[in-house]
Symmetry: D3
Subunit: 69 residues, 6 copies
Amino acid sequence: MPFVNIRITKENGEPTTKQKEELIAGVTELLARVLNKNKASTVVIIDEIDTDNYGLGGKSITKVRKENS
Amino acid sequence: MPFVNIRITKENGEPTTKQKEELIAGVTELLARVLNKNKASTVVIIDEIDTDNYGLGGKSITKVRKENS
Amino acid sequence: MPFVNIRITKENGEPTTKQKEELIAGVTELLARVLNKNKASTVVIIDEIDTDNYGLGGKSITKVRKENS
Amino acid sequence: MPFVNIRITKENGEPTTKQKEELIAGVTELLARVLNKNKASTVVIIDEIDTDNYGLGGKSITKVRKENS
Amino acid sequence: MPFVNIRITKENGEPTTKQKEELIAGVTELLARVLNKNKASTVVIIDEIDTDNYGLGGKSITKVRKENS
Amino acid sequence: MPFVNIRITKENGEPTTKQKEELIAGVTELLARVLNKNKASTVVIIDEIDTDNYGLGGKSITKVRKENS
C-alpha cells in the first residue's frame, strides 16, 4: 500500500497521457519488485508543475531554459 | 494548528464548491474533537487531481473507469 | 481512493494510538459521506512533527508554548 | 540539496511571475545562508491553490474573504 | 529535475538500506527513460511511516495486520 | 496564510534548534515581504530526512558523501 508522488514540469506537451501511464505502471512495478508491496493498493499521484513554479538553483525552470537556449 | 492535505480525483463535476466546504469544515471539526486542536489555525488544502494523473493498482483512474464501465 | 495527509505536532504523549485510530476512521468516513468515495482504497498518513520543526507566525511551536506558559 | 514546497492561494492576479521568481531566489538564498546548503541542487516548488480549496479555521478562504469584505 | 516522494510503512526491519538504494536508483532510472529527465538533479525522498500512522480502508495498518494474522 | 514545507537532510548534528528557528522566521518573513501575506497564520514544517532516505542523481546522500570523501 505505498504512496508515491511524482512532481515534474509540464513542458512542450509532455508528459503525455501515455508517458503518465508508463510512470504509474513502472513505479508500481518497482515497489512490488523491491519491497514485495501489494500492487492493488499502491497509489501514485503525478503533479504537473508550470515551469514558472519550479525552481532549481535559485531560478525558475522558465528562466533556466531561456539562459540555456 | 494541524495541517491537512486531501488529494482526490476531479470527476463528473465533483468535488463541488459545497462538497469542498463540507470537507474543510468536517476535517477541522474532527481534529478539534479528537485532539482538542485549535480550529482557528487549522489549515486544509484540497488538491483535485486529473484521473490521468492518479494511479491505483498500476493503472490511471481513467483506465480503471473505462475497464469497469 | 482519496489520499489524506494529516500533519500534527507531537506533544505531551499525544497523539495516542487510540487518537490516531479515530483520525483514520473519522477522515475516511467523512470522505465516504461527502464524496461517496470508496473506503477500501482511502489512504491516510499521519505525520507527527516535533514542536521545534513546526512553525506558526514565524516561531516554532516550542517557542510559542514557552511564551504562552 | 534541500526541497521546499510553498503552497499559497491564487488571488487577484497574484502571485505574479516576478513574485514567484523572488520566492524561489529568496528561499534558496535563505537555505544557503542558514544551513550552508548547495544552491545548485535546491529545488523549490510553488503550488497556487484556488481559494475554494484552501481552508483556514474550518472555512474556505473564499468564504473568509466574503465575510471580511 | 523531477521530485519523487515515496511513502511506505516501516515493518519487520524493512525497508533495508539496500532496498532504499534500489528504490532511489530505480525511480530515477524510470523517469530518465520515460521522460528523458536529467538524472543529476532528480530528487527522491523516502518516508518510512509507522504502521500506527498509516491508514487503509479506515483502519491503521497495525490493525489490518492483526486482523489478517 | 501560506504553508511551507522544508525537507532537508539530517547530518552532523544539523539542523540545530537555532537553525530551525532561523528557517521558520526567515521564510515567514520572505512570504510577508514578497506577497504581503499574514504572518500570524503562516505555517512552516521542517522535515529532517536521514541521508539513506534522500536520493540525488540516483544515489542516496549517504553514498554520495562516501564517494566524495
